[in-house]
C-alpha cells in the first residue's frame, strides 16, 4: 500500500493548463526525485500537495484515505484542508523563515500553536512546552546547528537557514516531506551542507518528494525519479533507468542539456 497516491492531478491558471493530469505513488520510507525543466510545473505540483494551490482535478490519497478529491467539495473546506495538509511538510526554495523569531522558535512555533488547541494543554502547559523544545533541540543536533539555537535568521548563512527550515518542517512529523529545489537559492559552496542533511534523512527512511536540479544528488538519494515536462509525467522509474538510460526522447534531450551545462 503506497503512503501517497496522486491521481490525475490537474491545475490551470486562468486558461493556461500547468498540470495536465499527474499520476504517481510513493511508498513509505522512499524518496522520490522530481526533475524537469524550468516552467514544467514542478513547483505547482508541490504547492498542490501542500494545498497552497487548490487542484482543479484529480485526487490525493494518504495511507489509502482520500484527503482531497476535486469532485468532492467536502474535502475542500478551509478547516479540512488545514488539518489534512499536516500530512505534508514543505521546504521552500527561498527558506521563508520567520525573521522575528530565533532559529529555535521558528522550529517550535507551529508545534506550540497546535498544542494550545489540545484539551489537556492548560494543565500540562509547562511539560508540553519543554517537550516541544527538547524535540526541537534534537532536530538541531540532526541538522548540525545546536550552537545556533538562539540566532535570528539574518544572522545565519543561506545554508544554515535552509537547514533550520528543514527542521521546522520535520518538527510537525509530516508523513511526506516535500522539497522545492532546496539548494537553488544558495551559493554553490553552501549546497553541500543542505544536501548532506537531506541525505541523512533518506538514510533514516524519511518519506520525501524532492524537486531538484542536482542530477548527481537525485541519483544517489532517490528510490524513484519522475521526469515532468509541460505538466505531464513523461518518464518514471528507478534513477539508474531514468537518469542513465532514459527511454523517452524528451528525457534524453533534457538530460543532455543538463550534462552540458
Amino acid at each position: 500500500m503506497p503512503i501517497l497516491e496522486v491521481k490525475g492531478l490537474k491545475k490551470c491558471f486562468g486558461n493556461v493548463a500547468v498540470l495536465e493530469g499527474i499520476d504517481f505513488s510513493l511508498q513509505k520510507g522512499e524518496a522520490l526525485a522530481i526533475i524537469g525543466s524550468s516552467g514544467s510545473g514542478k513547483t505547482t505540483l508541490l504547492r498542490c500537495l501542500n494545498f497552497l494551490e487548490l487542484p482543479d482535478g484529480g485526487s490525493i490519497s494518504v495511507n489509502d484515505e482520500i484527503i482531497f478529491d476535486a469532485s468532492v467539495p467536502a474535502t475542500q473546506s478551509e478547516e479540512e484542508i488545514r488539518k489534512k495538509r499536516l500530512h505534508f511538510g514543505l521546504v521552500f526554495q527561498s527558506f521563508n523563515l520567520f525573521p522575528q523569531y530565533t532559529a529555535l522558535k521558528n522550529v517550535t512555533l507551529a508545534c506550540e500553536l497546535l498544542a494550545k488547541d489540545a484539551a489537556d494543554f492548560k494543565e500540562d502547559r509547562k511539560e508540553i512546552l519543554t517537550d516541544i523544545e527538547n524535540r526541537a533541540k534534537l532536530l538541531f543536533e540532526q541538522i548540525g546547528l545546536s550552537d545556533k539555537l538562539y540566532f535570528y535568521p539574518h544572522q545565519l548563512s543561506g545554508g544554515q537557514q535552509q537547514r533550520v527550515a528543514i527542521a521546522r518542517a520535520l518538527a510537525l512529523n509530516p508523513d511526506i516531506l516535500c522539497f522545492d529545489e532546496p539548494t537553488s537559492a544558495l551559493d554553490p559552496e553552501l549546497t553541500g551542507e543542505v544536501l548532506k542533511v537531506i541525505r541523512s534523512l533518506a538514510d533514516k527512511k524519511t518519506t520525501m518528494v524532492i524537486v531538484t536540479h542536482e542530477m548527481q544528488f537525485a541519483r544517489e538519494v532517490s528510490d524513484n525519479v519522475l521526469f515532468i515536462d509541460a505538466g505531464v509525467v513523461v518518464e518514471a522509474g528507478k534513477p539508474e533507468e531514468v537518469l542513465l538510460n532514459p527511454k523517452e526522447e524528451r528525457t534524453k534531450r533534457f538530460l543532455e542539456r543538463y550534462s552540458n551545462a
Partner: protein, 214 residues
Amino acid sequence: MNFLTVTTKLLEGFWLSCIIFFFTLFGAMPLGLLVSFGSMSKFRPLKIISKGFVWVIRGTPLMLQLMIVYYGPGLMFGLTAFPKMTAVLIAFIINYTAYFSEIYRSGIEGVPRGQYEAGQVLGMTKTQIFFKIILLQVVKRIVPPMSNEIITLVKDTSLARVIALMEIIMVAFTYTTKGVIWPLFYTGVFYLVFCGGLTLLFGFIERKLDYFRV
C-alpha cells in the same frame, strides 16, 4: 507683555494644537487601516472607492480641504458651520486617514507571500498567521514612514489658523500687530521640543525592533 504672560497665552494656543494632533492620530490610525483594507480588497467597487478617496485627498492641499469642511456647508447648503475645532478635526482626520492608509498598505503588501505560505503549510490558522507572523513585520516596516508622517502632522496643526482657530502661531501673530515679533520665534521652541520628543520615541521603537531584519 512680559515673558510669563506670553508663555501662558502661547501655551493656550499650543494646547489646541495638541488636541488637533492627538485626536487626529486617534481617529486616523484606525480609519487608515480600514481604508488600506479597502484599497487591497478583491471586491472591485470597494477598491476603486478607496483608491479614489486616497487620490483625491492626497492630491489636494489640506488647507483647501479645511476650508471646504468649514465654509462648504454654509455656502453650498445654507447650513450653519461646524464649530471650528470640529471642522479642523474632520478635515485632519480625513486627510491623515488617506496618508496612513497608504503607509499601512505598502507595509502589509511588503511582507512576502512566502511568510503567509510558510505559516499555512505549518497548519496555522489565518488569525495565527496574522498575529504571530505578519503583524510585527508590518509594524517594523511602517515605523519609519509613520514617524515622518506624524512629525509632519505636528507642524500641519498650524494650518488650523486659516479658519481662525487660535492655535499657537495665530496667538503669536496677534502680538506682531503690536510690533512685537519675538513670540513668533518663541513658538518654534514649542514645535522643536514636541518633535524632538517624538523623534526620541520613534528612535526608541525602531531600536526595539532592530533585533530582526525584514
